[in-house]
Amino acid sequence: MGEFKVHRVRFFNYVPSGIRCVAYNNQSNRLAVSRTDGTVEIYNLSANYFQEKFFPGHESRATEALCWAEGQRLFSAGLNGEIMEYDLQALNIKYAMDAFGGPIWSMAASPSGSQLLVGCEDGSVKLFQITPDKIQFERNFDRQKSRILSLSWHPSGTHIAAGSIDYISVFDVKSGSAVHKMIVDRQYMGVSKRKCIVWGVAFLSDGTVISVDSAGKVQFWDSATGTLVKSHLIANADVQSIAVADQEDSFVVGTAEGTVFHFQLVPVTSNSNEKQWVRTKPFQHHTHDVRTVAHSPTALISGGTDTHLVIRPLMEKVEVKNYDAALRKITFPHRCLISCSKKRQLLLFQFAHHLELWRLGSTVATGKNGDTLPLSKNADHLLHLKTKGPENIICSCISPCGSWIAYSTVSRFFLYRLNYEHDNISLKRVSKMPAFLRSALQILFSEDSTKLFVASNQGALHIVQLSGGSFKHLHAFQPQSGTVEAMCLLAVSPDGNWLAASGTSAGVHVYNVKQLKLHCTVPAYNFPVTAMAIAPNTNNLVIAHSDQQIFEYSIPDKQYTDWSRTVQKQGFHHLWLQRDTPITHISFHPKRPMHILLHDAYMFCIIDKSLPLPNDKTLLYNPFPPTNESDVVRRRTAHAFKISKIYKPLLFMDLLDERTLVAVERPLDDIIAQLPPPIKKKKFGT
């Protein structure tokens, strides 16, 4: 199949931000996740947990609360005191509105979805009416004496529970006055702590209020009488989050020790009607604080400081015991943060607030499989480019020739020209960017680096001609009338004639760059596109979807290729379909047109279209090289999927030249090493 020199890169010092909030939307089966840097991500749980959308973060916007309201409208609130609504079509922030109550700690949408409640630093609880295009302040509830850290509506919408420091208040929504004030015990294991912070409350329809607090307790209160009914001490540290299932028969709490506890309402005896809450299952999937939990009908979802999003299906709720019933741990973004200049062997790394440019090293030695070759030249850190302003970088790209770098934030688009003089690099910003190039969701250079393709968040695709140190706007493909869907993925053919663009849900559009018109649209598929690329010479568009299907579409013929039809007919190997990370990058071998190179976070694969496809009986992945088997056996067992799992977690892999690959890994241990230390637990003795 082939022998490659692989540049194994581990100096991409990427650390994902900790997860602050998760919000599950039952209607669309989507999960919104907000991180400590203000990034908000949308995962489609129906589409194999694919992260289909994201909203870049902002330094001053620490999200403290996230919720869905009015069906599928997403709101967040944070310590800057603003409530924001996100436009899930255009992928930008619709508006931000100051609640005038200081930092906002909590937010909850009413059961009907028409009202929004926020809890502020100054102890006020504010009610907002959700109008079709905005939100409108309605009134304040009785002001409390300390910050409101958690809120929960009674399912009937008549009362709310608000967790504060040392107490929980129950408000009557109609009058806005506090009906009960339930004081939480500060005692912790017999020692009086300074304060007891009520991190989370949940109001059940029978009037029970469940609270979780910094003393490690889960407590049940009767809101009618304001009395404590039951108390569970479950942790030596804070219990930071709670989420209740819609049926109110189970709930989940997360602790600062990284443990998630499942509570279930079970009958006291096997055939009695009397039920009680019982702590049923503990899960330890996190090493750090579990800051937030969510309860979907079939799974417990948790996230926290250790940056993992964990989706733990409840086995009793899963109907079919397939791969969906397995635990999911999502750590890395489902998009590419790395671009590569093949000609100059450069890698551009994208961080939240800066870019890093590295030049790969070289070697003259050769070796056999598995050898580490001595370096004649080590990798160089060429450039550290910091962004201006508080906004996170959305996307970035380096041109194949290595002389252009482009990146974009929410409000500005930057283009730099690089000059190489021996070992020195000079960087020059191209000024006077046109107004329409304000914000880009995806940037791509053509193979010959003469054209720049920009997918703007207005749905338009811009083509810019680059020559010398200047640029010229050539054309803009406007979105089809009536749609505002943003394009998130771009692919250009090596000959520069075709441009493919994909949005989050609609099909892939293919444009003819020479004639500047829409060439065709690939038939829409149920699952979002995770990666695509156009093959040289044949101009076949290869598309990977989140359900692990791969299609090959011939652009000139405007139809699926024969190979793609064969694959669809025969189906993929079941192990291929059961992978749980999406394919994030596709590339081709310039000399071997039958090969497709692709990778996800845990494997790298070359698909050889000339070989037969594997069926479910054949071994998909064989980690050991065939040794004493005859050529006949080898040929008989050989199949199209050549897989390597040596490099993981794999964030990027591309072909530099015919015999050289670059693989960017990010070991989890390196990420953990950069996180704050977790709560220490003794291993030995008592």
Binding site: F4, V6, K368, N369, G370, L373
Partner: protein, 718 residues
């Protein structure tokens, strides 16, 4: 139990009650309605359930009612006497008493008496009695004088005895009391003198009477606060003769002797009387109900506003004047039984009922009734054909087995059980085993000599029994001191209560060595420790260091010197097993059994101290054996684990520390255990220290695997 219910006031209208209270409360012909006559001019008809008056009649100004109004049950009319001689008769429709029937009598009337089922009687103050009808026929007829001069009627009552009206009235003359009984069927008047007995100077305050077949039981409440009873025969032996009757004390000190207000007494039923009065001189007035049979106070109710000392009882209502208003207290006496009082249900066992099997077979659907039976039958037939076991076709083997158990000899039962077990895979295997064991145990209990040990052993080894299925099994085994069976139970049953575990432990520790030698206990958990004694001495030093147990380094222990004096003794003690192997096997079974500390601890306290020390010695020995090898396990097939050993040492010491610490022979053991704990603590603290170093090592190890941040490698894809 007799009980007074919540009182209620009949009218808010203040009755014009004089200092003597009301004239009377009488029944009317309707059950719920009562005639109340006040001491002035008014008669009021009350409906009690509605608490309101239905009618009210008054005599003219200047006239005064002298005799309470009664109802003539035969006509439904009301009769009243005013100004001693004037009789008035009216009914509900009449409004004005002036305009109703009037008859003026020739003598003064004491009282009109009326009971259901007969015409009213008029008792004149002179003691003469007339029927109302006879009187009305000639109102001016001459009324004779019955009682002597200065004799005054105090109290009267009218009964129906065997459908014959009987009138009794009590008179008083100079402190002497006389009872007159008038029989109307024979028109006989009998006079009795009531003898006072000891209490000469007391005055009788109140009377009540009840009829009991041959006697009228006349109860009187005296001023000394006691109730006396006088039995008056209804049919006197010699009516002409003046007879005397003796009072007998019935209840002592029911009310305070020197009560300021009047007291009243009324019989409620055969056994109960109600007494109105203050129980203590200073206290407020009370209505109390006494059971005269048991001489107990049943209930009482305080009446703080005072009463007039009058009490009437009709139906279920007690009437009295409480303060200024007429109060009604409903009284109930429900039949009570001791069982009811204790909350136990009477349940009769029907000896004829069929005994239902205690065991439910979960593997076959329940509730199918006959269908289930049939299918089971057919299945069994099929199987029988297959394996060709010759059995009587009608009787299934399980039933046959059960019948065998009830009758046959041990040998025969054993054979049958073995036969049944050979068939094993019947669908109702569990239930049959269960029933068999219960059957056997029942027979064991019935016949002390019957003890089918082998059978029981076999049944236990089927793995389907548990303690809760047959709690008697272990009880019997404990009684018989059958350690082998107990060991088997401990090994097989998952749910033995802690008390039983402890009872087993007691037996295992107390049973004599010689009797143990004879038993055939399972030895698989015991390794033959004596074999390893030879190479022990060589290993000793290293083994101790390995686990951080190093008595030589223990400097702070002042008992060390004492110990060091006899080092030979020590080694001997620590290296030889303190119990015989059989006992060790039994104790291991205890160590393996499941328990809950809180339930076990109280039972452990009952074990004698020398047995505790023996067990501790054995456990300590096991611990030493454990620490001999690096994996901290004991040799053998199913040995106790280190955790089990440690837990039991802790438990035993927790339960019996004060006892053990006082025993001189346990001293060395305790010192050893103390050192053991100390060494454990130091080991763990060392481990905690080492953990940090280990982590650093781990990091180093990771870095070694980590081939730097950048490398160029060769990859060949096949």
């Amino acid at each position: 139990m007799a009980a007074l219910e919540e009182e209620f006031t009949l009218s808010s209208v203040v009755l014009s009650a004089g200092p003597e209270g009301l004239l009377g409360v009488e029944q009317s012909d309707k059950t719920d309605q009562f005639l109340v006559t006040d001491s002035g001019r008014t008669v009021i008809l009350y409906k009690v359930s509605d608490q309101k008056p239905l009618g009210s009649w008054s005599v003219k100004q200047g006239q005064i009612i002298t005799c309470p109004a009664v109802c003539n049950f035969q006509t439904g009319e009301y009769v009243v006497v005013h100004d001693n001689k004037v009789l008035r008769i009216w009914n509900n429709e009449d409004v004005n008493l002036d305009k109703v029937f009037k008859a003026t009598l020739s003598a003064e009337v004491y009282r009109i008496l009326s009971v259901q089922g007969t015409e009213p009687l008029v008792l004149f103050k002179e003691g003469a009695v007339r029927g109302l009808e006879a009187l009305l026929a000639d109102p001016q007829q001459k009324i004779e004088t019955v009682i002597s001069d200065e004799e005054v009627i105090k109290w009267t009552k009218f009964f129906i005895v065997f459908r014959h009206p009987v009138l009794i009235f009590i008179t008083e003359k100079h402190g002497n009391y006389f009872a007159y009984v008038q029989m109307f069927n024979s028109r006989i008047l009998t006079k009795y003198t009531l003898l006072l007995g000891q209490e000469e100077n007391s005055v009788t305050e109140s009377f009540t009477a009840s009829v009991d077949r041959k006697f009228i039981s006349l109860m009187s409440l005296s001023s000394d606060g006691c109730i006396y009873e006088t039995l008056i025969p209804i049919r006197p032996a010699d009516p002409e003769k003046n007879q005397s009757l003796v009072k007998s004390l019935l209840l002592k000190a029911v009310v305070s002797g020197n009560a300021r207000n009047g007291v009243a007494l009324t019989a409620l039923d055969q056994d109960h009387v109600a007494v109105l009065g203050s129980p203590l001189a200073a206290s407020k007035e009370c209505l109390s109900v006494w059971n005269i049979k048991f001489q107990t106070l049943q209930t009482s109710k305080e009446l703080p506003q005072g009463t007039s000392g009058q009490l009437w009882y009709y139906g279920e209502h007690l009437f009295m004047l409480h303060g200024k208003s007429l109060t009604v207290i409903p009284y109930k006496c429900e039949v009570s039984s001791l069982a009811g009082a204790l909350g136990k249900l009477k349940h009769s066992q029907d000896p004829g009922t069929h005994v239902v099997s205690h065991f439910v077979n979960w593997e076959t659907p329940q509730g199918c009734g006959l269908g289930f039976q049939n299918s089971e039958q057919s299945r069994r037939i099929l199987r029988r054909r297959k394996i060709e076991v010759s059995l009587q076709p009608e009787v299934p083997p399980s039933k046959q087995l059960l019948s065998t158990i009830m009758k046959d000899s041990e040998k025969h039962i054993e054979v049958e059980v073995r036969k049944f077990l050979a068939l094993k895979q019947t669908p109702d295997f569990h239930t049959v085993i269960g029933d068999t064991v219960t059957g056997l145990l029942e027979r064991c209990k019935a016949e002390p000599s019957f003890y089918p040990r082998n059978c029981l052993m076999q049944l236990i080894q089927t793995h389907v029994l548990s303690y809760s299925l047959c709690p008697d099994l272990m009880e019997i085994a404990l009684k018989k001191k059958d350690v082998q069976l107990l060991q088997l139970c401990l090994q097989q049953f998952p749910d033995i209560p802690e008390s039983v575990t402890c009872a087993c432990l007691k037996i295992f520790l107390s049973i004599g060595d010689d009797s143990l030698q004879e038993t055939d206990v399972s030895m698989e958990s015991v390794f033959d420790y004596s074999n390893s004694v030879h190479d022990e001495k060589m290993e000793e030093q290293t083994e101790i260091l390995q686990n951080g147990f190093n008595p030589e380094e223990d400097k702070c222990n002042n008992c060390d010197q004492e110990l060091n004096k006899k080092p030979q003794d020590e080694t001997k003690e620590s290296t030889s097993c303190p119990v015989v192997q059989q006992r060790a096997a039994l104790l291991n079974a205890i160590l393996h059994s499941a328990y809950s500390e809180t339930f076990l601890l109280p039972h452990l306290k009952d074990i004698p101290a020398q047995h505790i020390t023996l067990f501790l010695k054995y456990l300590y020995f096991l611990y030493l054996k454990c620490s001999e090898n690096a994996t901290m396990t004991l040799p053998g097939i199913h040995p106790p684990t280190l955790n089990q050993i440690m837990d039991w040492i802790c438990l035993l010491l927790d339960a019996n520390f004060t006892v053990v610490v006082m025993m001189p022979e346990a001293k060395r053991l305790l010192i050893n255990l103390y050192k053991l704990v100390k060494s454990q603590i130091s080991v763990y603290s060392e481990l905690n220290k080492i953990e940090v170093s280990f982590r650093e090592l781990q990091k180093l190890n990771q870095e070694k695997n980590n081939r730097g941040l950048y490398s160029i490698e060769v990859l060949e894809l096949f």
